[in-house]
């Protein structure tokens, strides 16, 4: 099929709004229709996320073929009305987010049934879909205040989802996240207010055009500072990460997977978007030395995240700290701000979503089958859950950055980008962190395959139950594991898109 650009704009039609409205509608339906049967909620969530994924894919193709798509809400022209913009940059992220949420939903049926009390499942899926709609809204909107509204929708549903964890610590995790998240969001809205005072507009494109004249105004600089700090809180950049480990550790498995794969990545995306398309590369590079600060912060995040992960005994917590390190990769690429490094940063949004989502899915499967979260108890699991553990090994290799996995692609672009920008001293940071990653992941792989069974696993031995996790969980996990290798070997497609997005961000 081939469409001309004009036909495609019309073909795109109201897709941008449908992407959000469909999960929203499903979220509203979920508590009602689930009265029919308890698994209806899951079917609804799967269908909705699948449709959203297809729509986001079609949007991405529209953008690749015909350039940026703009959708005017209620057909009011910006800057008066609210605008939805899909460019290379957010079209790519949107597709990634939609895809991962679809896979995780597909995976989650059994896990949700086990971990969430039955009468709460319909509401759980409702909150779950609201969360997804929220993050998609964040990605797609072109209006900075609308962005805040979606951030709050995501956050509110997130708090409820986290609190569903079985351990009572989940409640405190959720509460602390609520406090810090609200501080972050309020800082964001404060920054938006300052921007509004300085420019009189809320539309991102309009802001970009009106800001350069007043770059040296203290109001604009303060606005930028508050937005940055607010977002860094939300994306858990070290040392603003304190809410994250507990949230990932005590949430229900499916929520850990979803949040690890999407929420921090989306916030990183917003950071990039505001740094480069609301403000301009000139601003962040020349007017305020923010990239220099961000480079230092990212390096600290990369090293500290990996270092703390080394000492963890709970596997979910280990993965959480690993995420804190990996967030540093994304911000590092953005802070170097050359096209190659930025490509690395963007491709890492996809890659890390794949890897970390998959690893949390593996942990979810282990928890589902055995209830084990301590690394020590996982000894000998390799024989009992061979497929799940194979996926884990692939994920581990990818996190380390072996050259046939997606992890290597990210590292390749980040490192060559850093060297190309004359910052070769950043490469050792990346390499040291991958060695540390190798340490803490290989520790798990080794105990899973090369040790006898732990006492805990032996007690679970039973002739009547299969040892492997349910089919649906294993297949989706392996599918993502396969993608980790597939996109590690045939990376040209996503890299091409990421490269265009990077060029778009840097305004060249």
């Amino acid at each position: 099929m081939s469409f001309g650009p004009t036909t495609f704009i019309s073909a795109a039609g109201s897709t941008p709004v449908l992407v959000i409205v469909i999960p929203l509608l499903a979220a509203m339906l979920a508590p009602i229709v689930s009265r029919i049967h308890r698994s209806v909620g899951w079917y609804l969530a799967t269908t909705a996320t699948f449709i959203a994924f297809l729509l986001s894919l079609s949007l991405l193709y529209t953008v690749i073929d015909g350039g940026t798509v703009s959708y005017r809400m209620g057909s009011w022209a910006p800057p008066m009305g609210i605008e939805y913009v899909v460019s290379y940059f957010n079209g790519f992220v949107l597709a990634v987010i939609a895809f991962i949420s679809f896979i995780i939903t597909l995976y989650g049926k059994k896990s949700v049934e086990q971990e969430i009390p039955e009468q709460k499942i319909p509401f759980f899926y409702s909150a779950y879909l609201l969360f997804i709609a929220g993050i998609m809204g964040i990605v797609i909107t072109g209006d900075i205040f609308n962005l805040y509204v979606f951030v709050e929708i995501t956050a509110l549903s997130g708090y409820a989802l986290i609190a569903m964890g079985k351990d009572r610590k989940a409640l405190m995790a959720s509460y602390n996240y609520l406090i810090l998240g609200t501080i972050g969001a309020t800082f964001l809205v404060l920054g938006i207010g300052y921007l509004y005072i300085a420019t009189g507009t809320l539309n991102m494109n309009d802001l970009m055009q009106r800001l350069p004249e007043i770059y040296d105004s203290t109001t604009v600089i303060t606005a930028f500072a508050f937005i940055m700090v607010g977002l860094c809180l939300k994306l858990a950049l070290f040392p603003l990460h304190i809410w994250l480990p507990n949230v990932y550790t005590y949430s229900p498995s499916i929520v850990s997977a979803l949040m690890a794969a999407t929420s921090t990545k989306v916030m990183a995306f917003v950071l990039l978007r505001i740094m480069f398309t609301v403000f301009t590369p000139e601003f962040v590079l020349e007017v305020v030395p923010v990239t220099k600060i961000l480079i230092v912060m990212s390096c600290v995040a990369i090293i500290m995240g990996s270092l703390i992960a080394l000492g963890q005994t709970n596997i979910k917590r280990m993965l959480a700290y690993s995420s804190i390190g990996q967030i540093g990769y994304i911000t590092l690429g953005a802070a170097i701000a050359t096209e190659t490094a930025m490509t690395g940063s963007l491709i890492h949004i996809l890659n890390h979503a794949l890897m970390k989502g998959m690893l949390f899915m593996v942990v979810g499967a282990v928890v589902y089958k055995t209830g084990i979260v301590n690394i020590k108890d996982m000894e000998g699991l390799g024989k009992r859950m061979p497929w799940t553990m194979a996926a884990f090994t692939i994920g581990a290799m990818s996190m380390i950055g072996f050259p046939f996995t997606v992890g290597f692609i990210s590292k390749w672009y980040l490192a060559t980008g850093a060297i190309g920008a004359g910052m070769w001293y950043l490469v050792p940071v990346l390499l040291v962190s991958s060695i540390m990653t190798a340490f803490y992941f290989w520790r798990v792989v080794e105990s899973v395959y090369f040790k006898g069974r732990s006492a805990r696993i032996d007690t679970l031995k039973s002739p009547h139950h299969s040892d492997e996790a349910p089919f649906g969980m294993v297949v989706t996990t392996l599918f993502l594991a396969g993608l980790c290798i597939y996109f590690g070997l045939w990376a040209s497609g996503p890299v091409e898109v990421a490269k265009n997005a990077a060029a778009f961000l840097l305004g060249s």
Binding site: E152, R168, L171, L190
Partner: protein
Amino acid sequence: MIEIILGKYNYWIYIALMMIGFYAMIAKENLVKKILGMNIFQTGVILLYVSISKVSGGTVPIIWDKGGPYDNPLPHVLMLTAIVVSVSTTAVALALIVRIYKSYGTIEDDQIVVINSHDGDKEIPSEKASTII
């Protein structure tokens, strides 16, 4: 000097409110107090926005025959949303606090830390696992 202070009087007050609320959010140990602080924090921001909308000599932004200068309606709209967000967050937070009180018997942050430190890192209870045993 006095001009600066008086010319931006509303802004100084909003900064003061924000600081009070922000302090309560991060430094108070009582979970309900934190939420009180959060409310003050957010109304501070609302005060900022509404102050932006004011124009000297402006009237309520409702079009009548007078036709004089009207105040900026946009921040009002935004703040309606912000108030709703604020109360929604409060509701969720309070629901959480009720749950926390039920399982910990206290709503003091530092006390909960003490209780948690005695908890250890327990395994996630798994119904399936217990049936296998």
